[in-house]
Symmetry: C2
Subunit: 669 residues, 2 copies
């Protein structure tokens, strides 16, 4: 079993940066997580200093030292106690440094932040430093199944499961260290699509093994969550229904949860996908989503558990002939009426957009709609629709756009970030979750560069004010090379990659057009006559879905001014034009180009940009680790083939449909 | 294990039809197949007479009797000894009847023919009767895999294999009786795509089990064939190559074949799919198809074995951007130059059309091209592209058209039937093969009505002069009901079903447009940008593939006058128009309709025809066995849904593309 250490693969720092105090860590706190903080300090700083480091006993005259301490009375300025608990500070005291956490967990975060700053030589610039995490919950969702496969996994097999056994080995520990080091504090260990065998995860069939994970996670300040099958009472309890208002069902869940907490007192809670894509749920019994969620939440509440309920509920058996039903409307339509009905320990997990992790979507209107409901945003680090870790697509710029999108929920200046961090409505149970992109590939993420998305998600959830460039630069320096020369190549490459992927794939917000079985590669009509509610409606005159008042009315789910802005073709942001409007090929965009010429141009450009990235990457040979160089080189080859296929299929498809040639006379087949 | 007896489910005949001699069978021949003939007589006639029948000993004064005899000196008029051997006659002698076979196998065929005539009350009309089979080889190809699945199987699982074991049970015997009763004399027991485990079928891992099949088949006059993996010497023999000219390879095959014949002396031979769709073959070693086939044929020759070599060789990694390569050309291009180079015990197995069992294709030009090569036609009873035994598609009319297609190979009047029966070039190793449509469904063929295709293939291979109506009527009376009332509903339904399927699926010979993974249901662009060489090339102006001189030149593979007829849009048979030409939507057909209006009309009609079939079928309730009634009713429901989906997707697709509305203003989405 080989695996890299990613951003924890510390390199020795230059001699002139080695402060005396670094060699002298003093742990002033006790408890298991504080002990982890001490260990992590010694591991990381030992590697950076080029010699073994161990914790010193506190004694007079041991300074200069790096003090690792917990101060429960620390003044943080955090807006609530939950975030205060997660706050840490790093400051200099003479030649010494003091890393102070309000809690043990915060101290551990402080140590990771400190070691990162040391490695990046940022200490002078950053200290004194205080961090109040932005998002209370920073969660990773694993779509790992117990057979060892990963739904939408592009980095090998699961390192959690194989053949219905739970794995536990050195890699597990490395994984947890990586997660903790970027601020993750919650991990869901199984797929939201809970299959037959996985339903048993909450039973004695597996709980003892799960507890080993929970214990390990706990030592790193991370809570373990599980996905449950809403029909578990039927499958496991022999109860004829899973009606959330049925007393037997309620009692069954209470017992099940009680037992989970008996085995795992620090258990985090459940994540549930119900009434979605064939999963069971409360609708079967004429109950609301709130009935379902609250029932489970109440079983969890006595133990401090949290119930996370996904809003990805839509009709996945739509008739393509039906122009009225609009999948984009579904989440809002299902949940808006229930605002205020969910218990305090329920969080609704809302995908960033109304469809499903496309390369470009508007922001879900639920963020601007719900006001009395705890919310988390769900992002997807796994590049299901954005190149599957073959193609490079650095997602931080997308996520930054989403987080800064102004919902106007409380008037101007209510960005998504504020809503999901709990600031808008003074909520505690809030945050960011993401479908993780890891697997048992040596480099964890298939494409080494896809590690930047994993790293970046954690960093962004801690501090959304970080720029995408800063995160790219951090990741590049920690993972590939400290050299500016390398960063000068890699950072712009990462920064431009989303636009490139968008250029050669589906245009202007329409999404889909991917191969239905794999979601990789083009198939323009692949979903067009299918049941998934994902259509482009193109004909010889134009393309796009009319979601205005005259169409599906989806625009009305937004607060003003978005409703008006999106509602008119000339004010609609052009990158979303085809999401909101059916537009003639001859429509002239703000660039002065027609829609069809824009499609041709971006698709030719997309391929050229991949070729340029490939050239740029080739220039790094010898300047970065050889394994990473070769891995990414091979991925770029496949990306180029994919980009060419996209370019040619999209261009040919639309040329055949509209008959309008490329102004520049380039080859369209 | 439940299964029906299909056309061997004899009913008691009316009293007035029970001739005295029927009760008194006298077997005048010995040998195992003659014994089978005696048994089959007793089983069938016993059921028809309503009491047990047993063979009488020959004695003076036993007449009237039915004499079952073998006469090796019988005058047949057959054109060669191989067919003479298969000839039988049935004649009256006073009150007695004499069933005479030139061989035991022919006698068995005579008994089956006799019992069928008795059941159908045809004796008066048909006797005296002589049958010289038209096709020397009448072969069933099973695409069964040893895991128990069937490639392109639509009738349940394999009854030959399960979980890599060979099955042998009562059903096996019923199967062989069914096959023998329709004249089948060769069965290939495994899939042409020979996977890893199936490669071992010719070894001691399985031969003892295969021998049980071979013995059973032999008792019914059927020879057993197997598909082999051309790379078997590498997989099984540890030889680094499978080059057909390599001495080690040659020796390996000689040994392997020798051993097969040691175990199974009556073994028929091999069927090979080489150099096709990823299968290994001689091309890898720079050898010709003839090199590959002859090498295997020479290993088989000492034992009288036959080597059947498929001509389904084409580039299945084509680039959709490539308008010059034409899959339709491939078989002819690969094999025409090799005419005369194949050994006498080699037969080329040629699919009926140049593509792959589409609902409408021209006849393969190879039948008119090869003149010094043994040929078999390969048909597909399994409805891979014609509704998968959900939709009704009676294929006998299609096969009749194909067999009567005049190749002009030896001047006017050289139909395919003459070529593949060996008459054109005085060949012995020739015939018809078909991919069978059976599985372990209770009714064998998924849809009961699909049994007519299975039955009809055998009948047609024995006697291509039978009309499709005659076969339909026979099948209907033997399987559903003897009543004229039922036949009056079922026979026209069968006869019209191919046209109906064609009406609602892909138009005018263009084929494909099916869902790529399943080959069922519509996906107009499903194969359009894929690697399989199957394109419709439609754009806003028109649709179709130019295969004239100006296009791919495929028409030149035909003898005149076809070359000229197909080459021009106005002489090309319109049902094949889009196969040969790229045609504007506004092109006016001989009906006076434009192409696009023809597409709309046929698709609306196709659905209406299915609705009419459904109504007709409903009228049979209570008049046919309930199980069959319910089975087919359920299939018609699914067929209607499928037809509607085809209608709407095809109409919408082309309406969106050309913008020309339906003249009749019907709903297009």
């Amino acid at each position: 079993m080989q695996y890299t250490k990613c951003w924890l693969d510390w390199k020795e720092i230059p001699k002139e940066q080695k402060r005396k105090c670094y060699y002298r860590p003093v742990l002033l706190a006790c408890g298991p997580v504080a002990a982890t903080a001490g260990e992590e300090y010694c591991i990381s700083m030992g590697e950076m200093l080029g010699r073994e480091i161990s914790l010193l006993e506190m004694a007079d005259g041991c300074e200069p030292a790096v003090f690792l301490e917990v101060d429960g009375a620390m003044q943080t300025g955090a807006r609530n106690e939950a975030l205060a608990e997660q706050t840490f500070a790093i400051r200099e005291e003479g030649d010494s440094i003091r890393i102070t956490g309000r809690s043990e967990e915060a101290l551990l975060q402080g140590v990771f932040a400190f070691t990162r700053m040391v490695s990046l030589a940022q200490l002078d610039e950053k200290l004194p430093f205080q961090c109040i995490p932005s998002m209370p919950l920073r969660m990773m969702d694993h779509w790992d199944d117990m057979d060892g496969s990963i739904e939408r996994g592009y980095s090998g097999r699961s390192f959690f499961y194989d053949n219905y056994e739970i794995l536990y080995n050195e890699r597990t520990e490395m994984y947890v260290r990586l997660m903790a080091s970027i601020g993750v504090n919650a991990i869901v260990i199984n797929n939201v699509n809970v299959h037959e065998r996985e339903t048993y995860l909450i039973t004695d069939a597996y709980l003892a093994q799960v507890k080993k994970y929970a214990d390990l996670f706990a030592r790193y300040g991370i809570r373990l969550f599980m996905c449950v099958n809403f029909a578990a009472p039927m499958q496991l309890g022999n109860i004829p229904v899973s009606d959330p208002l049925d007393p037997d069902v309620i009692a069954w869940w209470q017992d099940a949860v009680k037992h989970v907490y008996e085995v795992i007192p620090e258990f985090g809670g459940f994540l549930v996908k119900a009434d979605s894509e064939g999963r069971p749920g409360p609708i079967t019994y004429g109950r609301t989503q709130a009935d379902g969620a609250n029932m489970l939440a109440r079983a969890l509440a006595p133990y401090g558990g949290i119930l996370i309920w996904r809003c990805f509920v839509y009709n996945c058996r739509q008739d393509w002939r039906d122009y009225k039903t609009d999948r984009a409307r579904a989440a809002y339509d299902h949940f808006i009426e229930l605002d205020g009905e969910f218990d305090d320990n329920v969080i609704l997990q809302i995908k960033n957009g109304p469809m499903d992790f496309q390369v470009r979507e508007p922001v879900s209107p639920l963020f601007g709609g719900l006001k009395r409901t705890n919310m988390m945003i769900e992002l997807q680090i796994a590049q299901e629709y954005t190149g599957q870790q073959i193609d490079l697509c650095y997602l931080i710029p997308m996520w930054k756009e989403i987080l800064s999108f102004d919902t106007y929920a409380c008037g101007e200046g209510t960005p998504v970030e504020q809503v999901v961090s709990g600031r808008s409505y003074a909520q505690v149970n809030c945050g960011m979750a993401a479908v993780i992109n890891t697997g048992d590939d040596e480099n964890w993420t298939g494409n080494d560069l896809a590690g930047a998305n994993l790293y970046g998600f954690g960093r962004l959830a801690m501090d959304p004010s970080l720029t995408a460039e800063e995160i790219a630069s951090e990741w590049c320096r920690l993972n590939l090379s400290q050299s500016d020369e390398v960063a000068k190549v890699v950072v712009p490459m990462l920064m431009g990659s989303w636009a490139t992927y968008e250029n050669y794939s589906s245009p202007l917000g329409i999404g889909w057009m991917v191969s239905p079985p794999t979601h990789y590669g083009p198939d323009v009509d692949g979903f067009e006559y299918d049941r998934w509610g994902t259509y482009h409606r193109s004909d010889l005159h134009g393309i796009g879905v009319d979601r205005t008042d005259a169409g599906t009315g989806y625009v009305n789910q937004y607060n003003e001014p978005w409703r008006s802005i999106y509602g008119k073709m000339d004010t609609c942001p052009e990158e979303l034009l085809l999401f909101f409007h059916h537009v003639p090929y001859t429509y002239v965009l703000k660039t002065g180009k027609t829609l069809i010429q824009h499609i041709y141009d971006t698709h030719f450009e997309g391929v050229e940009e991949v070729e340029e990235m490939q050239r740029q990457w080739a220039s790094l040979e010898g300047k970065i680790p050889d394994r990473a160089f070769r891995c990414v080189s091979e991925r770029f080859e496949r990306q180029l083939a994919n980009a060419i296929e996209w370019r040619d299929r999209i261009n040919t498809y639309f040329y055949r449909k509209c008959g309008i040639g490329d102004e520049k006379g380039r080859k369209i087949y």
